[in-house]
Symmetry: C2
Subunit: 410 residues, 2 copies
Amino acid sequence: MQQFLVEAKKTSRHISTLSGEVKNRVLNEMADAIIEHCDYIINHNEKDMENGRVNNLDAALMDRLLLTGERVMGMAKAIKEIATLKDPVGRTLEGWITEDELNIQKVSVPIGVIGIIYESRPNVTSDTAALCFKSGNVCVLKGGKEAEHSNKAIATILRNVLDNNGLPQNAISLLPDSSREGVAKLIKEDKYVDLIIPRGGEALIKYISKNSSVPVIKHDKGVCHTYIDKDANHEKAISISINAKCSRPGVCNAMETLLIHKDVAAYILPPLHEAFMQNDTELRGCSNTREYIDIHCVSENDYDTEYLANILSIKIVKDLDEAIGHISKYGSGHSEAIISENYSSITKFLNEVDSACVYANASTRFTDGGAFGLGAEVGISTNKLHSRGPMGINDLTTFKFKIYGNGQIR
Amino acid sequence: MQQFLVEAKKTSRHISTLSGEVKNRVLNEMADAIIEHCDYIINHNEKDMENGRVNNLDAALMDRLLLTGERVMGMAKAIKEIATLKDPVGRTLEGWITEDELNIQKVSVPIGVIGIIYESRPNVTSDTAALCFKSGNVCVLKGGKEAEHSNKAIATILRNVLDNNGLPQNAISLLPDSSREGVAKLIKEDKYVDLIIPRGGEALIKYISKNSSVPVIKHDKGVCHTYIDKDANHEKAISISINAKCSRPGVCNAMETLLIHKDVAAYILPPLHEAFMQNDTELRGCSNTREYIDIHCVSENDYDTEYLANILSIKIVKDLDEAIGHISKYGSGHSEAIISENYSSITKFLNEVDSACVYANASTRFTDGGAFGLGAEVGISTNKLHSRGPMGINDLTTFKFKIYGNGQIR
């Protein structure tokens, strides 16, 4: 393992200096190779599907695992789109002349070797490999065991393209030891690995955060809130609430808890109830809520929970401060929205809520690299440092200072 | 400990929203209070000095520990300077309108609760507390045991000023349990602590990096290199080399290894040798170097070492690639310089050397917040993510996205 990572680190020096032109040409060849070897990928995917059936994986997992011709074409298309992105390397972020007449340029550079740990969906393999390659990084990929054959097939195709172009194949690697022990070793090799990105269940992310000596950018759960203020426009409040919960309940930017100002509860709860009934949402309310509408009782535990399902907690609060306090106690720092026409309430909410994305009068469902206009998305960071919220390709770079002198000493 | 950190986290919500005006007024009062209570501080410092004498601390450590009237005035002056800095909170870093007509603003915000672990010099207590307060963060300070009384006296004065202004005293705290176990607990409390900054010896930093589940920004050692290219201006090569090593050998941006292109070794080594002799530098050279000048033999181990003393390793390399390879193998990613008049060599060196600061024709000694023009310095980060190189007050902030909508759903 260590020798493998030593080599990966060496390769990163090479890959970091490739020109944008070379990288884009290779990416387009990768996309073409994916299309050309569509059957090869699908045949290997069939082995994973067969194992999945033997192991009784649930329907949702089987669906995420499945590759069809259309989905393979989607993978190729995603790589081609990544090729069209502006090169994230070599951007001058700042520049100035010091009192000593040194010319300082703060310039974006690749991070180095990035370990990415993810689950089930095989397209993550090609997406992530392409994003890392485009940003001049070496990636070490550790996908889910259930997608083993699919991931190997995809990686083999991409690595062959590297080889055909005279580039080191280990710029894109699967972790050689994909066991738990392999991961445990990987996250301790801070001399050779510069960043770990875990995407997956809560247990995986907690384990990696607690044990990694390599810096980690987490893609953790989203317990997102919407707060309907006393000065909310009722129409917007209802349509945004329905959208935030029901448009796709299984994703991290979906709302889990709706907070409602006590002064508007009586007016807004009955039509909200009706709208949610039409969307088959299971509502769980605090005792005050249940005075207005007939729904289940919410528990303390619910407020902490990312349902990933069409279930919603509802709580009536006495004012904006109580809403912010509730979010601060139970939120996961992902995305929260206030619905209000009151300038001061909005300002206070956006300033005081400590989350990656804070919305005025819009659905939390917009927390997404694509919706933000960042292009292909690495994920949604729940870290506070380096990257926070939707993580685009620029977040796969760091920076260095280039200092141009003329003999200066100090 | 946990209850203490829960309270610190709560306070951070309050402190994060203070206006620049309030923060600057309080900082100026803190500086005045330091001056007013100069005797109080010096009396407590005398207890630490007494303990130091009993425990036979070495002269350098005793000097770092000592507070004089002048040094206390220096602490007050530093706080007043921090008050004059532009508020790092609330800067709009980027902003754009999406296709959905959402107005997205990426805005700098405080990080939250920052734990800072440092050694000996008591002025770090007031500097760090002021920098954290100015940037809207709560700080939990853990200074060296040898400076215990001085640090307590300084913190007490600053906390009284907070109290006089109706602000929570725990915005500036000393870690209640300052034992090893106390630190071990602190770095595991990722729910309440947002960042750990360790400044100190290698063992401390390694221990914290390996064990912290809170993100860490390291201030690690500097094994800095200067490379004299075959196309170097000899005068600049000599004056920069002398400055990089001898102006202050005990700091992290001092040069530890000098690399010299084989084609110029015969010309440049004799005058370099003479100049270093005049500065009492102990030189240790590779076998090729020792063919030109009569100096000690360098060991493999030397190349890895931050001497923090007036000692220098010298190695002759066959070309620029070997120089970059040597730096990549032995360097600590801090600061490296090339001395050359050759455009292509400089470009290659600055692009391929993976360090926080890479210099063309200037001394590595410029790696410093003050010299960079960043104002008061938090330290020099050897991290690659979030902050790299000289760390100014802006690096004590993170960001959030404020998104202004008008009823948008997705």
